[in-house]
Symmetry: C2
Subunit: 442 residues, 2 copies
């Protein structure tokens, strides 16, 4: 018997998983390799960071998702290199996997625009670990404010800065406003959580820069109504333990804030760089690899790149955005193309992205959406957002409960997953240089 | 106005929380100090370790629980010392808190019986962090078995040893058996998870040594039916990376097992030791402080010790067990006594422990219970166990969902929270010395 066509997929995110599932009935052998053993529903990660959901509720074990797909196997491992001539990928442990077709869906990582030292003060929202670290940081700030020695110190602990007013920045600042105003309302004795300041800093002249202008304006209005201070047209020049420094026009301002969250840009990963080198592929400014209209790399028709790592363009030559929809449709397209090739046919049509709509959520009953050119905001947009996320999550069975839980927490204003975990939970309370002397507690 | 009577409670577990809540209507000021910001429903921690529940689902933020109790405040901090003459506790950061009455409910920690080096190979189930570490260890073992180079190596990754056949040992081994036989059944391509060996080692001649003999026998039968190998009367002499060595009679046996979990005994904490020193209190063999019939320390009628740190005795002089019931009733008693004293009365009655029943759960529809001398096992015991845990958890609102989720997972045999998180998730896959060469993966 002839050995089956080997499809190796790197990454089990939206793109990689869609590709694997598309190949379900194709006579190939699929090997999905991911560093993690789970698929993460990234659009809800901010809910983990803000204590509404637990990590397990927005993740599905990859093995579980693909357990019934007999032509697919899942491997825990990290690709670090590739030999495109020998058609092999190399994992960190030295193992190599040969492919006939390769689908690269390894995504992006957070970019601090060359200021990597900011990372330690301003975590970003990319992984489950970062989400729980952010949760820790937020809840801990209120604890510290409660025990602060001076008014000034308490104020710094109650000032939260989110850098970047894209979708993630909006989600985080909206959720933070709700935590301060509703969730923790009755929980403290010295401080009033409602007095927390939440600032959203953005370099561009408006929030949600990629959206139509009226929706940007609407989103800003919704944010302001929640109590978020939106500051546009600023350039962050420093982030440290004490807060943020930024330029606004000609003046430089410093803000004492103990909690800074980074919702800035993304860049390529080390593996993405290596892949570009090995295949001599062109990259764009943020390191994404420029692919052809069929999502393959020039000269390597057996290597597909999908999702955030790909710089793909639409019919008009406009680059496609790094969103889940593009990744999923790209994955399905790659899977279909491989299926056609294995069947001896040629995939004639180039990849066409069908945009079902863009939406950003700000808070309870607050969202903006652009669906086939129809601009929606407020309650209706939020309901659509809820419905779409519900539909997707339901596919990964048993996650229905996420939405029951949401409903429950929505009604009660509570947040169930308010845990400060990790080794730092107590240690960091006890740094004498920042705590000061509170006296005997009377 | 006279300053109010200050009650300081150390520890927000079952005992400390019960004490705080009992003082709700007493004209005192309550300060609850805990290292963590949440109350943990410890009896379900094994479900976090085995991937059924997320940490957030079995924890309630202490601030949330006490937010409506206006005479109580919560502080994140760790008590490290006490000055019983000056009536002050000292926190790690140097802050001191004065008390008029002190309730110590700081619990116990895992004891490796003097072999602390075993800890790194055999985690125990005390904290949320340990539970997620155990989850990681278990799921990771199956991943490694799938990628093992030799049959022998795969076998070692598929051998799980639980040391100690108390309630925790039974819960863990029963849940592990279900994971291997049901949850992961279809998830792998090379290995058959059903072939995993799960061994439960116990030093005593029977499991659940504190239960009546017929229930021990019944529990062992239920375990065996689930596929757990129970080995009694053995003494573990070593635990390392490769497995466990133990003595059985005159012979010494070694077992190649990559996953060893510790469900052994408990001992006092550093703070408990310090407290005993400072108050010159007597301790028992495992370091618990011997308290009087009113749960105070001799010569210090203002210091109550409740829960796992206390060695309290019943009417017949028999020591009370370290279970949640004893802690909760002790906490309520201490709260009531303080209330009486503040009201100018004397609490006349000594602490009386009312045992509502003991139960241990092994798996789905498998448990044993001793309720007012009536011995129950199997389905009925499991239903009672479920009901009692449901009742308790419902009190901490919104956690109702835990049980809906259970019901769901019970029906579908799935486990939603199967995440391998933490920095080690990929790094440890890649240790070349243990992985071996798998070739090109074809």
């Amino acid at each position: 018997m002839e050995p089956k066509h080997q499809v190796v997929i790197l990454g089990g995110g939206f793109g990689g998983l869609a590709a694997a599932q598309k190949l379900k009935r194709t006579p190939v052998e699929v090997t999905l390799i991911d560093r993690r053993n789970f698929h993460l529903f990234q659009p809800l990660l901010y809910q983990v960071a803000t204590g509404s959901l637990s990590p397990g509720e927005i993740a599905a074990p990859l093995r579980g998702v693909l357990s019934r797909q007999k032509n697919a196997r899942v491997l825990l491992g990290e690709a670090v290199d590739i030999d495109p001539e020998a058609k092999r990928v190399i994992l960190r442990d030295g193992d190599t996997y040969a492919y006939d077709s390769l689908i690269v869906a390894t995504g992006s990582q957070t970019s601090y625009y060359g200021n990597d030292s900011w990372r330690q003060w301003a975590p970003s929202l990319k992984s489950v670990e970062e989400a729980t670290a952010i949760r820790h940081k937020i809840l801990y700030a209120f604890e510290r404010a409660e025990r602060a020695a001076t008014e000034e110190e308490a104020r710094a602990w109650l000032t939260f800065v989110i850098v970047g007013a894209g979708a993630t920045g909006l989600e985080l600042s909206g959720a933070l406003a709700e935590i301060a105003q509703e969730t923790l309302r009755h929980d403290f004795r010295k401080i009033r959580p409602q007095e927390a300041r939440i600032l959203l800093l953005e370099g561009a002249p408006r929030v949600l820069g990629v959206y139509p202008e009226d929706l940007s304006a609407k989103a800003e209005k919704l944010l302001t109504r929640l109590g978020v201070e939106v500051i546009k047209g600023v350039m962050v020049t420093n982030i440290g333990a004490e807060g943020v420094t930024f330029k606004r026009g000609d003046s430089t301002e410093s803000l004492a804030a103990r909690t800074v969250l980074w919702a800035g840009g993304v860049t390529t990963t080390p593996f993405g760089e290596r892949l570009a080198q090995r295949t001599k592929a062109e990259t764009d400014r943020s390191g994404r690899i420029k692919v052809q209209r069929d999502l393959t790399i020039p000269n390597y028709s057996d290597i597909f790149i999908i999702g955030d790592l790909a710089h793909a363009v639409d019919e008009k030559g406009k680059p496609l955005p790094g969103v889940a929809q593009v990744a999923m449709q790209g994955g399905a397209y790659a899977g279909k193309t491989i299926g056609a090739r294995v069947g001896g046919k040629q995939q004639a049509r180039p990849f066409h992205y069908f945009n079902k709509g863009d939406m950003a959520v700000i808070g309870r009953a607050a969202a903006v959406a652009n669906i086939f050119g129809v601009h929606i905001s407020g309650w209706p947009a939020w309901l659509i957002w809820l419905f779409i996320h519900l539909m997707y999550i339901v596919e990964f069975q048993s996650r229905v409960l996420v939405f029951i839980q949401w409903g429950f927490e929505y009604l009660t204003f509570s947040r169930g997953a308010r845990l400060i975990t990790g080794t730092a939970a107590t240690d960091s309370v006890t740094k004498p240089e920042t705590l000061g002397n509170i006296g005997d507690g009377r």
